[in-house]
């Protein structure tokens, strides 16, 4: 009797929960007369989900032609999820993605060329021209995404720790930085001046070696006039050796070799270090963990000539996926991209997410003018000493290369398993070969 009751109870629980869950899936491409347009955001968290849901609700209320649907994915889940969608031909209509991933998706024929739509866009003139140039260079003349924000490479420091350690001047040059790194790196006490990034180090690493060598006279390009990669020239090898010596000399924590952004930020926020190099989008995280007002920003480190090199404008973009074939009508998807890259949406998102807009119409708004951090980014953008490093993201394999190979090689260098020359020779050879393939295909 007891068992029967137990079974009956279990079944009842499952049935009720199942009813509550609404376990069935009822999806269709049209909702009533409206055409459904699915949008996947690539780096969702609680705040961005709320902001996007509100924007999409507004857009749906403003027109009757399309029903826009939003889904946010955690940044760690998105690449796998979208790869699966490409493989199984179940792509949404619109995705957002980082600049570095665009050509990986283009290589899989997953994105639509938006050049003609971009040319007709009424807010085109508001977009930062550098962004437009970067996107065009990326796509070999074609534009595959509508830009909405960009990351400016900067340095963060902890003014309270600077004061406590008697550092009166914020380092502006690599030489001064090295001096401080040596002076305050103390493994016995577990305190350091700097937090080095060992995982996905490309932005910091290239900023360092290009600045150190003054780009070897190639103005931030990875290639010479014969399309040979220049980064294994002796001056670059010396630059990389100097950068790796920070770790080898124990001026940074032993864990640095495994530092990704989160670990680097953890060291900085815990007061283990007092100086980090990262981009402007990391500000929200630092602000959450260290507290607003407890950190300051400064320009990237310069060389003896006063010039500093940092990655070129690499905006995050909204892309239309090639889920209906080349000749299909993508108006609904493009409208969503233009709406989300437009002044109103970008204003709302950048305020909430602490990002830097590329739509210059936002620069006149009070929220932008009153922000304490944006003036520095504007200053850098217009600084004649700022030289943009032209990361070759147009090479389909570059994004994967910097995520995997570069991390492994840089870690091997830090641990003394490879020399700077070996590492840079390997990278240069790879990039030269990939560039040759790219030019051949073009």
């Amino acid at each position: 009797m007891k068992k029967r009751r137990l079974v009956a109870l279990s079944m009842a629980v499952i049935m009720s929960v199942s009813t509550l869950m609404g376990c069935g899936s009822k999806d269709s491409s049209t909702s009533g007369k409206k055409q459904v347009v699915e949008f996947w955001y690539h780096a969702a968290d609680e705040k961005s989900n709320k902001a996007y849901e509100e924007l999409i609700t507004k857009l749906n209320a403003s027109q009757d032609e399309y029903e826009y649907r939003y889904t946010g994915f955690a940044s760690k889940d998105f690449p796998d999820k979208f790869q699966m969608a490409i493989a199984t031909k179940t792509m949404p209509d619109v995705i957002s993605t980082g600049f570095g991933n665009v050509m990986t998706y283009v290589a899989q024929d997953a994105l639509v060329d938006l050049t003609s739509y971009y040319e007709k866009w009424d807010q085109k003139s508001d977009i930062l021209p550098q962004t437009f140039d970067s996107l065009k260079a990326l796509g070999g003349g074609k534009i595959y995404g509508m830009p909405f924000n960009y990351d400016q490479q900067i340095c963060y420091y902890n003014p309270a720790l600077f004061e406590a350690n008697g550092i009166t001047e914020v380092p502006t040059t690599q030489a001064k930085f090295l001096e401080l790194t040596e002076q305050f790196g103390n493994r016995e006490k577990g305190t350091y001046f700097y937090s080095l990034r060992g995982v996905k180090p490309s932005d910091n690493l290239f900023a360092w070696i290009f600045t150190y060598t003054d780009g070897a006279g190639y103005k931030g390009s990875f290639f010479d006039e014969n399309n040979q990669c220049i980064i294994n020239k002796p001056e670059f090898v010396e630059a990389l050796d100097v950068y790796a010596s920070i770790y080898k000399n124990k001026w940074v924590s032993g864990d640095s070799v495994n530092n990704d952004f989160n670990e680097m930020n953890a060291e900085f926020s815990a007061g283990t270090s007092m100086f980090v190099m990262h981009n402007s989008s990391g500000r929200r995280s630092i602000s959450t963990t260290l507290g607003e007002g407890n950190f300051k920003q400064t320009k990237p480190l310069a060389n003896e000539e006063g010039r500093y090199y940092a990655p070129s404008m690499q905006p995050q973009v909204y892309c239309v996926t090639n889920n209906k074939g080349a000749d299909a009508n993508y108006d609904g998807a493009v409208k969503l991209c233009q709406y989300l890259a437009g002044k109103e949406a970008v204003s709302e998102l950048c305020q909430v997410l602490g990002r830097t807009p590329v739509n210059t119409a936002c620069y006149e708004a009070d929220w932008y003018k009153q922000n304490a951090y944006y003036p520095l980014y504007g200053e850098i953008m217009n600084d004649p000493n700022y030289v943009q490093i032209q990361n070759p993201y147009w090479l389909m394999t570059y994004a994967n290369f910097i995520k995997s190979d570069m991390t492994t090689d840089f870690q091997a260098l830090l641990l003394g398993e490879k020399s700077a020359q070996q590492v840079l020779d390997k990278w240069a050879q790879f990039l030269t070969e990939e560039q040759a393939k790219y030019l051949q295909d073009k």
């Binding site: 499952i14 968290d45 955690a74 199984t88 179940t90 929200r284």
Partner: protein, 278 residues
């Protein structure tokens, strides 16, 4: 003499046990303490081993803004349903594999063993295609079906081991006394196997409670997220809400802890009862 033995006991029993307990509990302690701190205190230096200022904000945020209750229910549904399906099927099939000789039994055995050798990533695309054609994408049933299928072979092996450890004469005696085969299995064998059933069920429950890889493939709608997928939202592109994540992990852990507390007695016996054939 007594004093010497006492010292020996301290060195070889109490100290290792205490060290083991500390090592085991330290991460849980840290997780709970982190969940009760403000975000800024998580990284404050010197590190605080006890919150300077207690806050339950991370927990209230979970259920108000984050909608954790929904994710909790989703995980609960997937785990309970999977567990029931796996127990019933492994009970029946385990009996067949243990008691009957049939042509191809060795092949079936090998086939079941092979299913355990594929990593989930390899199965993702074919399973996605299957679920898509069954219109089960964004349905919790896709997870129930997948978790049941992936857990079943191992649970079947476990159950088969338990059946093997019970003498056949037990159900034969019941049949001599007038029981049908099914009655003999359910009335006579099952009560003796209760600890084993609980051990098998726990295995299936915990595996499906922690389902992540398949969930990333089949579930895109936020309202259908199971807990592991929802917890990932705390890790943004350039920021991780460690305090919120810790609170989420604490809540996610509660059902598993309750389950273990309830079945602990049965589990220790059940997990090993089929290990050695008597």
């Amino acid at each position: 003499m007594k004093g010497k033995q006492g010292i020996k006991k301290v060195i070889f029993l109490y100290l290792p046990v205490i060290a083991f307990i500390i090592i085991t509990l330290a991460p849980f302690y840290w997780m709970i303490v982190t969940s009760l701190k403000h975000s800024t205190e998580v990284f404050s230096r010197p590190l605080t081993y006890w919150p300077k200022e207690f806050t339950f904000e991370n927990y209230s945020k979970l259920f108000s803004g984050f909608g954790f209750g929904r994710y909790f229910l989703n995980s609960f549904f997937v785990s309970i349903t999977t567990t029931l399906i796996v127990i019933v099927l492994s009970l029946i099939s385990g009996y067949a594999m243990s008691r009957y000789k049939f042509r191809g039994k060795g092949f079936v055995y090998l086939l079941l063993l092979c299913t355990q050798m594929f990593p989930a990533v390899v199965l993702m695309i074919p399973l996605f295609e299957t679920m898509n054609s069954l219109r089960l994408i964004n349905s919790l049933w896709s997870l129930v079906i997948t978790c049941s299928c992936t857990n079943l072979p191992f649970c079947l092996f476990m159950m088969m081991g338990y059946y093997n450890s019970i003498p056949r004469s037990l159900e034969e005696a019941a049949q001599v006394d007038g029981c049908s085969l099914l009655k003999a299995v359910f009335k006579v064998l099952m009560p003796t196997m209760l600890p084993s059933i609980i051990a098998t069920g726990s295995y299936a429950f915990i595996n499906s409670w922690n389902v992540f890889i398949y969930a990333t493939a089949f579930i895109t709608k936020k309202e259908k997220y199971p807990i592991p997928l929802a917890l990932n939202i705390f890790q943004g592109e350039f920021n991780t809400d460690y305090a919120g994540l810790a609170a989420g992990c604490v809540v996610a852990l509660i059902p598993v802890l309750i389950l273990f507390a309830m079945i602990q007695k049965n589990l220790s016996g059940g997990a090993t009862s089929g290990a050695v054939k008597g």
